[in-house]
Assembly symmetry: C2
Homo-oligomer: 436 residues x 2
Amino acid sequence: MTDYRRLRVALLGAGAVGSQVAALLRQHGDELADRSGARLELAGIAVRDVDAKRDVELPRELLTTDIEPLIVGSDIVIELMGGIEPARTHLLQAINSGADVVTANKALLATHGPEIFDAADQVGAQVYYEAAAAGAIPIIRPLRDSLAGDRVQRIMGIVNGTTNYILDRMDKEGSEFADVLADAQALGYAEADPTADIEGYDAAQKAAILASLAFHTAVPLDAVHREGITGIDKQMMDSARHAGYVIKLLAVCERLADVTDAAESISVRVYPALVHRDHPLASVHGANNAVFVEAEAAGDLMFYGAGAGGVQTASAVLGDVVSAARRHIAGGVGVGESTRANLPVVPIGHVTTRYQITLDVADEPGVLATIAGILADGRVSIATLEQTVAGEDVETARLVIGTHKALEQDLSDTVDRLAASGVVARVVSVLRVEGD
Amino acid sequence: MTDYRRLRVALLGAGAVGSQVAALLRQHGDELADRSGARLELAGIAVRDVDAKRDVELPRELLTTDIEPLIVGSDIVIELMGGIEPARTHLLQAINSGADVVTANKALLATHGPEIFDAADQVGAQVYYEAAAAGAIPIIRPLRDSLAGDRVQRIMGIVNGTTNYILDRMDKEGSEFADVLADAQALGYAEADPTADIEGYDAAQKAAILASLAFHTAVPLDAVHREGITGIDKQMMDSARHAGYVIKLLAVCERLADVTDAAESISVRVYPALVHRDHPLASVHGANNAVFVEAEAAGDLMFYGAGAGGVQTASAVLGDVVSAARRHIAGGVGVGESTRANLPVVPIGHVTTRYQITLDVADEPGVLATIAGILADGRVSIATLEQTVAGEDVETARLVIGTHKALEQDLSDTVDRLAASGVVARVVSVLRVEGD
């Protein structure tokens, strides 16, 4: 056995991901040493409760509730506690005590990323976070390194497995949201409190991380426009299917060019959107994730895989641990985040997309002309229009309008005017169309 | 403008990729400086003929035929000459003169990889080659870094755009190979001499590179089993479609476990294979590439994009240039290739897959029993069997046999015995089935 240099590794957190990381570190120790050039010694595992029941058995003598002594003197600290505090404090302690850090903590990076990256820069440490967006799918290195010489124009990501699972089942089975959610909770695909997933908070954190990397800009979480999927019902799904689309919760990160002054800005948004059945993202089923990247030179790329899961995410964490070990052996300081472009993030009203507007309208002559007039006045141009025989009651007809690209603000104002026009009985739904 | 450290970049080769690299380096100079922390100064472009016509205009004063003085004193050398010599000599010169090197040269890496990586290790330089497999698709960093803590079980790659374009059109149009090839040549999707693509040489080079990374083993090119697509005809395509498959040229890199002694080995092979229509690889159309990775912890991953093209490949090259620049700024030595696993590569006869065997057999009683007997004797187990009314002449029936997993050697011997059995008029085709 080669006599490798020893590196002391501290693991903070032994939940679904942490326990798998601990198990794999021990199980594949020789192999990881051969690959990294260092023997990775798990010095301890910080847990809240040493006696808690765990899916994976961990050696009792490694468990500790005393975090600081574990961190001090470690070469690599793996933070898998989740949440903001005390994770933030311990991550900063680790960095300041000279360790490289590996984290899967998307909430922390999306809210305190710049603080953490700055701290690492100060001491020449490196922050690794491949597991913080899209779980096991390698997307951080591709954006951070492989595409660093290109210009990313747009990212469309299915980055939350729970919502994709729910929407996929609604699409396949023609079921209602509440029924599928209840079933997903029973099956373990959704949490007892599903808010973070179904309201898009989780996806928004990942969107902030992906946009920061893609556009070399520190994107604050509160600049991410966020809508969840709780408003999506069977009727919308059926209507989408009928028109050749499927509804997906998308994290969209987009570079916008102002034609008048050539200044660039970006938009980062999470919402359910119509995706054409021919688009590669439409065939991402179940709880899988995929990130579709449009780059100026590279063209269209897609990264696909399991977005979550303990052992899957552990794969990404261990890849980072090997990278950190290799960097320790190679020497040199850490490579900081690239945020010098620092593009402004525009509010949702400035974004241009296509829309599908579904209206129940009075079934009488002249109504179509009135509606077309309101749309034209609002600078919303009609691409397709379909009238179905009846809306929710017999007096109304249902109108499905596909628009050309329109400004969100214009569209929103126009929908308000439609609702107040007297000829529209009900605005059934307004959905964005992405990806074509 | 920030006063960045200046790095001297030498570009060897100004073909389809090189000219785009030169153009993008100059066009996006400020942006690349912000991202890499270094001003990348293109010191010169080595070409064979300064006066040759080029698609992209390059500043005359940068062009030179005098390579050595250009290399000496450069911090980063980009080798895009292609071929073995003089590329090998110049790459080694660059490494030995202290430069980091970026190359897209798959032929060179597949044949002289260990020599080049060793030379880099000696001086602490780094070799970057994201563009050497699957063009613009970030696959090198995911395998080298993101999955470095995981165990890759299998890679199935569509890594040659020309052959995928041809097979995809044959599948869609029901055309014959020769007709589509001629058309592909006319349209620029295939070279005037298409041998490297259609005989699988290009895919085999990429397979050697991917397998080396995935299995931490220096895989020599001559250990890669290689078959091309020239034998694929309309009848095979039709028969595949009928059975729910599509034929793709696959680069398969597989970890094999010997159940008796727990010793591991790997198989690296390129051949046309049946892929089920439900598999993500089946929907890779046109000249696109995709690499499907099955990893022990991460599960199934897929990386998709344009596999070739000047500007697309330039994206991967520039990503490497930015990485090299960041490394120069960060300090430290290069991280060598991980090849300590050094698993043996087994010959094709040791590989186990499923097969589809198509036979024209005498249309008379007892024939099926004879054939079933020969298969059973050869340890080839039948999974599906379909008899179509007639083979190529009226005396024969066509038999399409789907097998369970069988050893290639057993299968091959069995097919020989079938051919010599007297009841088989013709072995129409034998194709492997991959991915399920």
